[in-house]
Amino acid sequence: MFSFEVGSLLNIAVVLGAGLAVSVMMIWVERRFLGFWSDRLGPNRVGPFGIFQVIADAIKMLFKEDWIPPFSDKFTFVLAPMILPIVMLMALAVIPFAPGVGVMDLNIGLLWIFAMAGLASYSTMLGGLASNNKFSLLGSLRGTGQMISYEVFMGISILGVVILADSFTLRDIVESQRDGWYVVPQFFGFIVFTVAGLAESHRWPFDLPESEAEIISGYNTEYSGMKFGLFMIGEYIAMVVMALLMPVLFFGGWHAPFGLEFGTPLISGLFWMSVKAGFFLLFFILVRAALVRPRYDQLMSYGWLVMLPLSLINLLVTGAIVLYQAG
């Protein structure tokens, strides 16, 4: 049965606000860290450490001409960029941050996230199709193909976790990791999930739907101003969701490592959750600075020939062990 528990209004406001704020700040964080990793400074002019670059960017984006190409399908063209941030915020809603912190607990939380991730691909697909531009078309085709393939084993890769925790509720999954993180028994699941997560959020090196060396900017080539901004923010929210899911599923969520708990469970939980999620955010940026984009067919065959079997074997072995232990 479908059951859920919604947090207090304060809870909702703070979590969604913080989620959005962090996502927006990621614009600056990413540019700054990419800069460091490629021997540059990154944005450092506006405000302390260039932190207000985000505001400057936002102002620029808001005041840019909001151009809708006359040859596009106007309704879909406007609709497409809205889908991504909305569904990603909805995915964010089921993530537990600390004991008592979270928008809602859903007994099918994990499935909910997958449903939202699946819907997000419509943003890419419709955006590219509605643009009526050949580069966009190629981008949206790539995006759709990539989403469909990588979602398959992204789902399979975390079934191991579900078997171990015996629940789809994210809060229960975190709770069941009190005595040991799932990254150890589910190491292959973790690897597959990381790769698939990067691919799902179109992060480098899996940004084939918009690889600028080949198809200019892919599905969002025709977008400018705030509509482009929505795509960008949506992608950053997806990245934040992915970075939050990592600790929730594999690294013990808000539980402190090595018993390093301090203060109240709430403070300690929020602290450790932020540290863990922050680590993965930076990891995603580092990956972008370091790795090479594979070719589309290589990406596909890698997915179906390596990742899928790996995740299936992982699932079978986990299931077998759990059944054996249960007698």
């Binding site: 490629s38 060396a213 198809i215 984009r293 070719r295 589309y296």
Partner: protein
């Protein structure tokens, strides 16, 4: 090694082997021989025989002439000094090159108005295609049998042939430009894309193709070039490159400038090559004038040319990685390039276009303390190259993306006129600096890197290794920089040595004329080629006794290399196409001149 020098002296006294063979095959009466300043064997032949002669040179001559290095034309109608040359209005010049025999030959064909046509050489060398289109575009020489004799640099609506002597060279010589509605309409009509005109089918039995306009503004197009791609899904079926967006008539400018004032224009041909572009130009003039430059000048020139080779290859390296989807190497490469540019700036005062070489020398002596900065660079750079090897060249994904992609063998390279790193990547060990040393390269110890597969990876690997060798050459320049003057003590050195002007009125007048008009030399023809950053770059200058060139021909490697892109990329995916484009390593200013 000193083949070319020996060869040159030979030509003065006895018949070059290639001409002897031609005489033997076709009879001496079929040819008229011409002497040129650089001693390249040059003969005139009738239009009816040209194809036979070229075919003989390609297939039967010993050594064989594998590649057609250049085809160009000369408008002879206003030329005064043509002693002994057959009567001609327009002369078509073919220049095949033999790598196995390390020699050249120049074949000329005289054409009289109004009968300006000559059979096409595409059947012998596919690379002749664009050369001949260029000749038609610039001179109006018709190549009969050419499959697509259309404008290549100028727009299809252009009237006239720009390199003809009666075509205006400046806007002020023309009527004011109008931008009326009817002109706009014609221009728009001419811009319409019609696949059939480009030789592309709209559909096959099974699928309808998509035409993708890759460029003229595309992040991976490396400048204003346009490729019309015929796609089946993501597979590239055919490519038609469209160039000319950057054409500014550099050869025409050469006819208006004096020998000296043309130097800055050369910098902007291959704008990543900087002073390396000055080198073939000033060396050609020096040969014409008989100037022997001091050793210090030679070594300074080599050092700067190699710095620019490193700069150019670093830019290639970074953009190549970005085109494959790796972000960071570009920035690392630019940091190193910046260091090299800082040194270039402290020596020449300029960065990308220093225009620093002079006829008979260089502009200034090296600044005090140059050794320190150069030493820092040569100590630092090899370490950085090792880092790049680990980060990029050893990267598995990069290898997967580029190995076996865009392959060509040595014969293909001959056919398509590929020189430089692209030719060496197919396994041919031939480098102008080694095989025909100029500017004292024979005194340096360096390797000529080659690869075997001729694919995208190999082309990149050859360039990376060339950077290492260039760094080694710079180190040798640093350690063995000769002392002495930075300008030749020759009267035609431009600008002449200032101190001398203060001695008496004669030298003052001499100096004044040399600076205001530039040097005047006896009429002659000369060509000089170098191993430029992207391949063989040659300047073919015709001096009719004026203070500048009667005709300046610049053979640029990039122009020829673009032609091979369709050959390299048919059947690949779109992502591979960008890899091919990146490793072809062209500069649009070098393509369009």
């Amino acid at each position: 090694m000193s083949n070319s020098a020996a060869h040159m002296q030979q030509s003065e006294t006895e018949l070059p082997a290639v001409i002897a063979q031609l005489y033997q095959k076709f009879g001496e009466s079929a040819f008229v021989r011409q002497h040129t300043a650089e001693g390249m064997p040059t003969v005139w032949v009738d239009r009816d025989k040209i194809l036979e002669v070229l075919k003989f040179l390609r297939d039967e001559a010993s050594p064989r002439f594998e590649m057609l290095l250049d085809v160009t034309a000369i408008d002879e109608r206003l030329r005064v000094h043509r002693d002994g040359q057959p009567d001609s209005d327009f002369t078509v010049v073919y220049q095949p090159i033999s790598f196995s025999g390390n020699c050249d030959v120049r074949i000329k064909v005289a054409l009289k108005e109004p009968d300006l046509n000559i059979p096409t050489a595409i059947g012998l060398w596919p690379a002749a295609n664009w050369h001949e289109r260029e000749c038609w575009d610039m001179f109006g020489v018709v190549f009969t049998g050419h499959p697509n004799l259309s404008r290549i640099y100028t727009p299809p609506t252009w009237v006239g042939h720009p390199l003809r002597k009666d075509h205006p060279a400046r806007a002020t010589e023309m009527d004011p430009y109008r931008h009326d509605d009817d002109i706009v309409d014609t221009e728009h009509e001419a811009m319409k894309f019609n696949p059939e005109e480009w030789g592309l089918e709209r559909k096959s039995d099974t699928s309808e193709f998509m035409f993708l306009n890759f460029g003229p503004n595309h992040p991976a197009a490396h400048g204003v070039i346009r490729f019309a791609l015929q796609l089946d899904g993501e597979y590239v079926l055919d490519v038609v490159p469209d160039v000319g967006y950057h054409h500014r008539g550099a050869e025409k400018m050469g006819e208006r400038q004096s020998w000296h004032t043309y130097i800055p224009y050369t910098d902007r041909i291959d704008y990543l090559g900087g002073v390396m572009n000055n080198l073939p130009y000033v060396m050609a003039i020096e040969k014409m004038a008989g100037i022997e430059v001091p050793d210090r000048v030679k070594v300074i020139r080599v050092m700067l040319a190699e710095f620019f080779r490193i700069c150019s290859h670093l830019l290639f390296f970074g953009t190549w990685a970005v085109d494959l989807g790796q972000l960071s190497p570009l920035f690392y490469a630019f940091v190193d390039r910046e260091k090299a540019f800082n040194i270039i700036e402290s020596i020449t005062g300029g960065r990308m276009h220093p225009s620093w070489f002079r006829i008979g020398g260089v502009a200034q002596d090296l600044p005090n303390g140059w050794e320190v900065r150069v030493k820092e660079f040569v100590d630092m750079f090899p370490k950085k190259l090792r880092e790049y090897d680990k980060m990029v060249m050893a990267n598995t994904v990069i290898k997967q993306r580029t190995m076996g992609v865009g392959k060509m063998n040595t014969q293909d390279a001959y056919d398509w006129g590929m020189t430089g790193p692209a030719l060496r990547a197919t396994g041919l060990e031939w480098d102008y600096r080694k095989d025909r040393p100029y500017s004292g390269y024979e005194n340096f110890e360096f390797e000529v890197p080659i690869a075997v597969n001729g694919d995208c990876y190999d082309r990149a690997a050859v360039r990376v290794e060339e950077m290492r060798q260039s760094c080694e050459i710079i180190r040798q320049c640093l350690e063995n920089m000769p002392s002495g003057p930075y300008k030749s003590d020759h009267p035609l050195t431009t600008p002449p040595i200032k101190e001398k002007s203060k001695l008496d009125i004669e030298t003052l007048i001499d100096h004044f004329l040399s600076v205001s008009w530039g040097p005047v030399m006896d009429p002659s023809e000369v060509s000089m080629a170098i191993e430029a950053t992207k391949g063989i770059n040659s300047y073919y200058l015709i001096n009719d006794g004026g203070s500048g060139a009667y005709r300046t021909r610049i053979r640029t490697p990039s122009f020829i290399h673009i032609q091979a892109i369709p050959f390299l990329s048919r059947g690949l995916m779109l992502a591979d196409f960008t890899a091919v484009v990146a490793t072809t390593d062209f500069v649009m200013a070098d393509v369009d001149k």
